[in-house]
Point group: C2
Chain length 335, copies 2
C-alpha cells in the first residue's frame, strides 16, 4: 500500500514533464474521449491533445440525425477546452454493433465485416456533409484533424478527401467562418496497413486502431467467448502491420499514431515508440504509466527492439521480450 | 460461335500437356472436390491431383458424426481414383455459415470471426482424432496430405501436428495399416500469411485460401450486398500477403499453393506463378485456361511482374497491368 501511494505521487509528478526519451525523441501523449466534457476530467493527467474524439454520442438516442449546429457546439466546445492543443475528430463510426434508428440497416451475417464506418458515410453524403461542415467550422477556433474510420482502399480515401473539399467549398460560398483541417484515416483493416505506402500520399496522418486491426488480422471477434483467448494485439503479425505503417509514415513525412487500446498498454510502449509512432492516444488514466516508460527508454534501442519483435514466432515470446527489455531499464509496468 | 468451338478444341488438346512455362517452371494444376466421385468427372480436364478435398459432405445431414470407417471409405476411394497423384484432405471446416446438429454452437455476433475450422477441431479432439485416423489409414494406399483450415498462431500448428502424431501412434499401437502424410495449413487469415516465415518451419506446405484471406484482409463479407463491391482478391494488400507466403515457402524449402477461387482465375495466373506458387487447385472447368496461360508466360517475367503488382495502389491498376501483360503475350483470358 505504501508502495502504491509512492507510485501515485511519482505519477502525479510526471504530469507536467514532457514525454521524451533519454535520447530526445518526443511522443505526443493524447487522450481518447467520448464527449467534450471529458477533456476537463482528463486534465489532471496532462494530455497534449485529443487523439480520438468519438462523435457517436451526438447520434445516439435520437430519432433523427443531429443538425450542423448541434454538432458544431460539441466540436467547438472541445476545441476551446483544448486551448491550442490538437483535436482529432473521428467521423461517425457506426454499423457492426452500433446501430442508429434513422439509418436503414441491412441484415448482415457478419456486421463487423460489413457496412460500417466510412463505408456508410460514403453512401450517406447527407450525414457526412453535415458532420464535415460542423467540423470545419469548429476548426476556425483551433487545430482540428478529421479522421475517417474503416478505410480499405485508396479510392475511398480519395472520395473522402473530396467530401472534405466539398464541405469547405460550400462554407466558402456561404461565407461561413471555417478553418483548414488535417485529413487522416484510422488504420484498422489489414488492407489499410498493408497499403500504407500507397495511402500515405493521400492523407496527412494515420491513426492505428489496434482493436479492429487485431480482430481482422487474427480473424477473432473477442466478444465470442470460444475464441477470445486467441485475441492478441501483441501477435507478431499485428506488430508487423504497425511497424509497416510507422515506416510508411516516416518515408512520406506524415505522422502516425495509435488510438486503440494498445496505446495505453505500458508493456507495448517500447514497441510503439520503436515503430515510429509519434502520438499515442489512450484512456486518460493510462497516460502517466506510458509517459514513465517513454522517459526511461532510448528511442534508438526501441527501434532496434521493434525490428526484433516482429520476427518473433509468438505473442508470448513478444511479451517475454518486452518484459525483460523494460526490466533491464528499471521499469516494471503493472500490467 | 466458330471461335468458341475452336477454343474448345484448343483447350481439349491442352489436357495431356504439362503445365510448364516456356522457361521450364512446372506448376501442379489440381482440382477442388467435395466428394470422391468428383475425381472421375474432373478427369477430362487432366488434373494432376486434388488440392482440396472438402470433407464436410460426410458430416452434413446427420444427427451424429460419421465414424472412422465411413470416413475411411470416402478418403480411400479418392486415393484409389487418383492412382498415385496427390490428395490434399482438409479437416472438418465448419462454423461460420456451416453448422452441424451434433455440435453445440455458441451464439456469435460475427461467426466468420469466431469458432470455426481448426479452432473447433482443437476443442473437439474426439472428432479430430477419428478424422485423422481415417485419413492416415487412407494414406496407406497413396500419397495423402492433411490440411488444417483457419490457423492463426504457431501454437495452434504445434497442437495440430501433435494431434496427427497421436492418431498415428494409436494406429501403430493397434497394428492398423496406415501411411505417412504431409501436414499443412490453409493460409486464410492475414495473421497466418504475415507469420509465414515462422509457420514454414512447422509445416510441410501452405495452401492459400484466397476467399477468406480476402475477406479478412479487407474486412469485407462479400455476402453483404452493401459492401460486396469492396471485395477484391486483386487488392494489392491481398497480393502482398500471397507474395509473402510464396517467398517464405521458397526460403523454407516447402511448397505453397492456392486453393481459393483466385487459383481458377486466368487473369491472376501470371501473378500466382510469379509469387512462387507451385500448385494451383481449382474448379475442374477452370483448369485448361489456367494451363494455357502458364504455357504462355515466362517464369522470370512473372516473378518480376509479381514484385511490381504488389506496389500498385489499387486493384483496378492491378487488373489493368495483368491484362496488358497477358495481351502482350497473346493470351486474352475470357474473364
Ligand atoms: Mg474501429
Ligand atoms: Mg475458409
Amino acid at each position: 500500500l505504501a508502495a502504491r501511494a509512492e507510485r501515485a505521487r511519482t505519477l502525479a509528478a510526471l504530469r507536467d514533464l514532457p514525454a521524451v526519451t533519454p535520447d530526445g525523441r518526443r511522443v505526443e501523449l493524447a487522450v481518447n474521449i467520448g464527449r467534450p466534457e471529458d477533456i476537463a476530467a482528463a486534465e489532471e493527467f496532462g494530455p497534449e491533445g485529443v487523439g480520438l474524439f468519438r462523435t457517436e454520442f451526438l447520434f445516439l438516442d435520437r430519432s433523427r440525425p443531429p443538425g450542423e449546429e448541434t454538432q458544431w457546439q460539441a466540436y467547438v466546445a472541445a476545441v476551446r477546452a483544448l486551448k491550442g492543443r490538437r483535436l482529432v475528430l473521428r467521423t461517425l463510426d457506426v454499423g457492426a454493433d452500433k446501430r442508429l434508428p434513422f439509418i436503414d440497416w441491412p441484415d448482415e451475417m457478419n456486421p463487423a465485416l460489413g457496412w460500417r464506418g466510412a463505408r456508410l458515410s460514403l453512401e450517406r453524403p447527407d450525414l457526412l456533409q453535415t458532420q464535415l461542415r460542423a467540423m470545419l467550422r469548429a476548426a476556425a477556433e483551433g487545430p482540428v484533424s478529421v479522421m475517417f474510420p474503416m478505410v480499405t482502399t485508396l479510392e475511398e480515401v480519395r472520395r473522402l478527401r473530396h467530401a472534405v473539399e466539398e464541405a469547405a467549398a460550400s462554407l466558402e460560398r456561404e461565407g461561413v467562418a471555417h478553418g483548414r483541417v488535417e485529413v487522416g484515416i484510422m488504420v484498422e483493416t489489414p488492407a489499410a496497413a498493408l497499403s500504407a505506402r500507397a495511402l500515405a500520399g493521400a492523407v496527412d496522418f494515420f491513426s492505428i486502431g489496434t482493436n479492429d486491426l487485431t480482430q481482422y488480422t487474427l480473424a477473432v471477434d473477442r466478444t465470442s467467448q470460444q475464441v477470445a483467448a486467441l485475441y492478441d494485439p501483441l501477435h507478431p503479425a499485428v506488430l508487423r502491420l504497425i511497424l509497416e505503417v510507422g515506416r510508411a509514415a516516416e518515408e512520406a513525412g506524415i505522422w502516425a499514431g495509435v488510438c486503440g487500446e494498445l496505446a495505453g498498454e505500458p508493456l507495448a510502449t517500447p514497441f510503439l515508440l520503436g515503430a515510429g509512432m509519434a502520438e499515442l492516444s489512450m484512456h486518460p488514466r493510462a497516460l502517466p504509466e506510458v509517459k514513465r516508460v517513454i522517459r526511461a527508454v532510448r528511442y534508438d534501442e526501441a527501434r532496434q527492439l521493434a525490428g526484433e519483435l516482429v520476427n518473433l514466432p509468438t505473442g508470448d515470446e513478444v511479451r517475454r521480450r518486452l518484459r525483460s527489455f523494460l526490466a533491464e531499464r528499471g521499469v516494471e509496468p503493472e500490467t
